[in-house]
Amino acid sequence: MLVERWISARIQLRVGPRHTGPYGTLQTVADIVKLLMKEDVRPVQADAMAFRLGPMLTAVPAVMSFAVIPFGAPLIMRDLNVGVLYFLAVPGVTAVGLLLAGWASYDNYSFLGGLRSSAQFISYEIPRTLVVVGVAMLAGSLRMSDVLEAQRSVPFVLLLPLGFVVYIVTTLAEINRTPFDIPEAESELVAGYHTEYSGFRWALFFLAEYGALFAASGFAAVLFLGGGNGPLLPPFVWFLIKTLAIVFLNMWVRWTLPRFRSDQLMRLAWKVFLPLSLVNLVLAGLVLQAVN
Amino acid sequence: MTPVLVLSAVLFATGMFGVLTRRNAITLLVSVEIMMNAGNLNLVAFSRLYQPELMTGQVFAIMGIGIAASEAAVGLALILTIYRRYGSTDVDRVRLLRE
């Protein structure tokens, strides 16, 4: 998070955080302590259960998706037979959390923000999932270690460049980052679904966003860039380099591009990315036959 | 496998209870989904018993899930349309309004 603030400052020609600790390295710690100590405000008319459950259901799936990511050859929490599908299925629950949070707050902005976020989330989920089907076709398995094994000689990004691009862009959109952060467009909707949240509960949304960003980048590194495969350096280092490269790409895009309008955004999902991902599927089929 | 079948019977009964007694259309749909899940549980259990390598039961469970999803899509579309016209998702109230 600190790094993101540095990068954003550099790109926008500002001075980043630099007062807390050497070069501002303790800024994040200070932020966390502050958030924990803040008052937990809940609107009187809010639905208490949904209000509490909302942030949990956005943050927990994001953290849970780390369970199947191979951080290096042996460093994987659980190498499920259906690991790839697990990674896609579990974060899908986030949409429920977004809707609940927006609805529970009893606030027009939150309500609209929650609806928009989840509509956007589910729209981009389809092309993203379809692209991964192409990868599963080439790998011949849904197990993460098999996907890595299949890329020992050629990473899939060379076979499915279109898929890689679609995956990266739809991921950006799914975790609500600029240029796709309509749901929390400050200028129109205050802060979207988390307007009414403060303190630690707000931090959970924040954590969800960053958790999802890192998980999705790591997943992309495994699916398309061959994860821990690489010469000389140990697998973990290769995995880290590839993941951070994708994370950096994300941040760069975030702080450079302006925001889309919501109608443009939905059109983009269904009329550009969904057809593109179908094309990617056909390409994957052709590549498969060519390889055989 | 008997415990699975008993559990499935209990869940099916609960869903049926909901269908028989609730009047809100969305809750009716919730109850129907519970019944369908009870059925899927049976399918998966039988998949383990008979010809496990053919996966017939699991294939049918996946089909069941897919059909339940499309049923929910169409059902909720109907419910929303009815709500737009009659201002209620209460089945009895809607029936009264139509007469």
Partner: protein, 122 residues
């Protein structure tokens, strides 16, 4: 019974519980440390300082439902493709043709929704 499934599901359950417990415990632990001064004004929804204009419990655009509708249909189709994707490598052109027929159906659905104007945000 099969060991791998059992250990997988136990791990996943434990992990889920741990991930759920962590934020709950943190919130509870800091309950005594953070201030709590509920007030009438603080309990009001925040709408940029303007008093709430309308109750946020009202019917909204059908457009949102349209997207959810198209979403769920395509999701099931994608998952069926996931089931057959891993074995496609070992099967020949015939299997590919069968899958192509299915993908054609998916594309047809997309085309219909497109023509119908269901994909337009209004």
């Amino acid at each position: 019974m099969n060991e791998p499934y059992q250990s997988d599901v136990l791990f996943l359950l434990g992990f889920t519980l741990a991930v759920f417990a962590l934020p709950v415990l943190t919130i509870l632990a800091f309950r005594w440390l953070r201030p709590s001064h509920p007030g009438r004004l603080k309990g009001e929804p925040y709408e940029s300082g303007v008093p709430q204009a309308s109750i946020p419990r009202r019917p909204f655009h059908m457009a949102y439902y349209n997207f959810a509708l198209v979403f769920i249909v395509f999701e099931v189709e994608t998952l069926l493709l996931f089931a057959i994707a891993p074995v496609l490598r070992d099967l020949g052109w015939v299997a590919l043709g069968e899958v192509a027929a299915f993908v054609g159906l998916v594309a047809l659905g997309l085309f219909y929704a497109w023509r119908r104007g269901a994909l337009v945000w209004r």
